[in-house]
Symmetry: C2
DNA sequence: TTCGCTAACTAACGAGCGTTAGTTAGTTTA
DNA sequence: TAAACTAACTAACGCTCGTTAGTTAGCGAA
């Protein structure tokens, strides 16, 4: 029964608030209240409100890369690889739905240079999926789709799933991933 | 070259701001600035900041219903019906990308009772798609997928498309709809 | 025992917020 | 022409915001 460092406690509480009300609408006094301390006391542990947002966004980004990069270099059939990538991505979301929601919706309130860095990372992440689709099309595993459009569609199809893990684990991430994989790969038609 | 009523001008400018910075981070003074007037002058035309948000959210909701409801009652094959529904939905987004972005992301800053009303409308809208999937599954046009999960995935796959129409019409809505229809119906696999 | 560190506190700052009151110039209506 | 309406203005209200300064109680190390 270890107690977390105060800074981590702040991040965890802030995640929930940022997800529920949004970053701008969540005040430092709101965050402090959930910890039972005064707003000013937060500054013994963090240097600004935005630092909390940065921590959430960039640590989530890293989680996604850590999950996806080893898969992207595997030498396996492209449809299988995409399946593993989708499963990994959804796994990261499922493992931290609050932070995922913040990562996906509140990043635009980052100031520069964090904002530019964040956008670059996102582009880099999308390019991993683009490469997989390109390779799959070249090897005739996939149809000759519009790749940028399909990547965005795929990511959007995955990125709402944090909502599913909010109230209580009604759906397990594995079942969810399998459903989405099947839908993306083979479609809805019988 | 008609000049719009001031209230409509306010809504149009607010749409852009709310989309770019979010509702909470956009101040009445920001909105007034884009019109070249003082913040207080806005109150000759509207009664509160939230009223602007309500107007945007509920008029967009109505646009979606107007587009989708006639299709939902047509008597045509279910895959064709779904295709028409997807095309109609994306058409509404394409016709007003700023308002769509606000509709999709800022609704949670509505206060009650607007917020509850909004959520009910969304549920009702989702149910239209659920019915189409149910019918399609019953008539063996579609596979026996998990309907709620598939509806959410479908909506997410469509609802990012407002981003595409932001800078300048690079992609036409028809091509975009066809891509997404094909992907959802037949999948990515060759 | 004293020193220094940690993590809380109180108090307050300046800025910005949404909104209201009261006023005014110009335009439309009676 | 006089009255009423429209749509802007200035000024200000009360409140909340993120943040800073200075203080203090408790605790482990020298």
């Amino acid at each position: 029964m270890k107690t977390l460092p105060r800074k981590d406690q702040i991040r965890l509480k802030a995640q929930v608030l940022f997800r529920e009300k949004g970053y701008v609408a969540s005040s430092m006094r709101d965050i402090a209240d959930t910890l039972g301390i005064e707003a000013a006391s937060l500054y013994n542990h963090i240097s600004s409100k935005e630092e909390i947002l940065q921590d959430i966004c960039f640590s989530m980004a890293e989680s996604f890369f850590v999950a996806i990069e080893p898969i992207s270099t595997e030498n396996i059939p492209l449809d299988e690889k995409l399946k593993k990538a989708i499963t990994a991505h959804i796994g990261v979301i499922a493992a931290n739905s609050d932070a995922s929601a913040v990562f996906l919706h509140e990043w635009r309130h980052l100031g520069n240079p964090s904002l530019s860095d964040f956008k670059l990372m996102r582009r880099r992440y999308e390019r991993i999926f683009s490469s997989m689709l390109d390779d799959g099309i070249r090897t005739k595993v996939f149809r000759a789709v519009d790749v940028p459009l399909t990547v965005r569609t795929l990511l959007s199809a995955m990125n709402w799933t944090y909502e599913w893990y909010n109230p209580k684990g009604k759906v397990d991430p594995t079942a969810m991933s399998e459903h989405i994989c099947k839908l993306i790969l083979d479609g809805l038609r019988n």
